[in-house]
Amino acid sequence: MCSVKLSCGERCPPRAGRPLHTDLPPRASRPLRTSRPILTGLPALIWLAIFLLVPVAVLVAGHVDASDVSRVLTRQSTWRIAWFSLWQAVVSVIATFALALPLTWFVGRHNFRGRRVVRAIASVGFLLPSVVVAAGFIALLPNRLHVSLATMIAAHAYFNIAVVLRVVAPRLESFDTRLVAAARTLGAGPLRTFATVSWPAMRSAVVSAAAVVFIYCFTSYAVVRTLGGVTRNTLESDIAVRAYAIGDIGGAVVLSVVQVVVIAIVVLLGRALARDAASTTRRTTLTLSSVAGMRANMGVVIVVVTLTLVTAPLVALARSSLRVGDAWSLAGWRSLVDNNAELATPESAPPTATSASALIDSLVASGRTAVFAAIVALVLAAGLSRTVVRLGSRGRWLDAVSMVPLVVSPVTLGLGLIVTFDSGWYDWRGAWWFVAVVHSVIGLPLAVRVLVPAWRNIAPGLHDAAAVLGAAPRRRFVDIDLRLLRPALIAAAGLVAAVSLGEFGAASMLSRSGAETMPVTIARLLGRTGDLVRTQAFVLATVLVAACITALLLVESGARNHTQPRDNTHA
């Protein structure tokens, strides 16, 4: 069979080429892969230019004059708010690390049964919408603590535990503890060993995590608005107040610029500190310690306490969705599906409750927005990340450009989009997909961060191997790139969808009545009076938690299934 086919023309590829000429002029050097790397990244760059750079430029260039700058910057309240934004963010970073470090150390340095589950549960907070976290704290805490600085900071710490865990624990896992032993044998005491060996190895991860947590807390909006009360304003919430409540667009823009400058400084500082440390770090993969004795007991305490703290607001949320006032009731859930549902308690009067159709509209709007944002961000990020990888070291600038949406806060972005697109020939804000477009911009950097390492992991030699086996470029893209990228694509899509489901700042500015996303509806309901209204907020928040967790579980299982080697597709 095979030997016959080898030498005959039965399955040989058709002969290709041109007749032999020996006197041809020399050809210029010509790479076989001729497509320009920048082409795949262009759509994302254009997208960012239209929906990020232009709105921000219009905001700064068209709506601010010198009087706005002097008016805002000379006002004492501006600096009071800026100072509050700054110190509450610093305190939130400290609180986050205090809460997360014990578990991070235990998970990062030890191997135990259920380690992955513990890490997954502890990460849930980060993937939950900030409005839901705020709702969870309201459901958990007594009334007098619903609006307080401590609650606000606790909420910040709550959803940033995952950042510390996900960034610092992997570095702990790869830290070569033999270096510590080496330093000790050379006469270094514990403190000197920590300062000269352990800390330099950990510094970049700790600095990166701290910078990310700081930025999230510094630009916090939903938590501040829900748990901070009317007397506490961060720059982000004050931008929203000025732009929408007072109509002071110029003042809002000046504050936005101040905020962007602070974030840019933190990002640059973080990158500089992290780079210095990373270059001196020798990483290795070591077997993690197993847990026994005292350390096991300590581990159990750390895991139980942290997981209790993480799950308590969610349990309280579900519990509160089953209570109207002081009584157990399914009225909140019934009101989700039945416009004419009989209300359980007399104090929850129908006029204050939101109709089932409005709640369902909110669910549909959120789902639709998340799917659209995920698809758009995925396509754009796939192209952009490919360009970043193909450009090699020249692609660093592009990598940095793709991170710009992280520097511009959602509220600022929403404001810029309103100013830019609200007076045009087309009613952009009336289009349901406009919020999704904004979410695709916000989600793009996250998708790029997931996809760049995935592209890098595809060995370039595989394309050559497929080429000599007869695969044309498109076929190679499908069989190699898409197949190997699939887990990362699924993960990126899930991440963007989760971000979109929970995004509040931009959605609260751009959503219109009838097409509000769930976080906007939840925040609106929490801000109103009436027991049933509040229960409806908890019901929606519970649904949102379930949707986020389900989406993430599907992403996890999808990614796991697609890493199986068997090829079950038909050619």
């Binding site: 069979m1 095979c2 030997s3 086919k5 080898l6 030498s7 039965e10 399955r11 040989c12 590829p13 058709p14 002969r15 290709a16 080429g17 041109r18 007749p19 032999l20 000429h21 020996t22 041809l24 020399p26 050809r27 210029a28 050097s29 010509r30 790479p31 076989l32 060995a459 030699g461 595989l462 050559d464 191997a465 497929a466 080429a467 000599v468 086996l469 007869g470 695969a471 044309a472 076929r475 069989d479 190699i480 197949r483 190997l484 890493t563 080697p565 068997r566 090829d567 038909h570 050619a571």
Partner: protein, 211 residues
């Protein structure tokens, strides 16, 4: 059968080799020797169409294929580092070229099983690539290249990195297989005994350069 005519390849400003010439007859096995870094692998990649050439021609059965894309040349290449597809199992790796040609799944898997049997890996079709030893991976890479029914097979240091006993066993198996298939082979290696054992004719890489 295969003619390499005055081939010059540059990488940036550096000339990798200039004026390389090689003639291989149908069914002939030619070994090219040379030290590491002399340009042997580059020559194979140029013949396979994976890199561009500055001047010269690659002629296959009387047709100039110099400007033809790699996937249309019908030239097989077994890479030094195997380059097996990690996301496919062994059978899907071996059957990849058949899949590209549009062959039905059950039929291409039957062919893959035949080829695996031929290279001494019967029963390996469901194995993942990660589970293969170095020698097994070499055999799978060879079966994959041969399953494509190439007009010429290029072997880039095919036995490098294997321990002595495995090296000798695979050398014997390869010779028997190529004898049976009458495959046209260009083999590059730094190991002269390997070339002598496998090829009908051996030459130094430096002897190919006529400029």
């Amino acid at each position: 059968m295969l003619d390499v005519v005055n081939l010059t390849v540059r990488r940036g400003d550096r000339v990798v080799f200039r004026g390389a010439r090689l003639h291989v007859e149908q069914g002939e096995r030619v070994a090219v020797h040379g030290p590491s870094g002399c340009g042997k692998t580059t020559l194979l990649h140029a013949i396979a169409g994976l890199i561009s050439v500055d001047t010269g021609q690659i002629v296959l059965d009387g047709v100039d294929v110099t400007a033809t894309a790699a996937h249309r040349r019908g030239i097989g290449l077994v890479f030094q580092d195997d380059r097996l597809f990690p996301h496919f199992d062994v059978a899907d790796n071996v059957a990849y070229s058949l899949r590209v040609q549009g062959m039905a799944r059950h039929e291409r898997h039957r062919h893959a099983d035949d080829w695996l049997e031929r290279v001494g890996l019967g029963g390996f079709s469901q194995r993942s690539i990660d589970s293969l030893s170095g020698g097994e991976a070499k055999r799978v890479a060879l079966a994959r290249a041969l399953a494509a029914s190439p007009r010429v097979v290029l072997l880039d240091e095919p036995l490098t990195g294997l321990d002595d006993s495995l090296h000798d066993r695979l050398l014997t198996d390869l010779r028997l297989l190529f004898d049976q298939l009458q495959t046209t082979v260009v083999l590059v290696t730094h190991d002269r005994t390997e070339g002598a054992a496998l090829a009908h004719r051996a030459t130094d890489f430096s002897a190919l350069l006529h400029d």
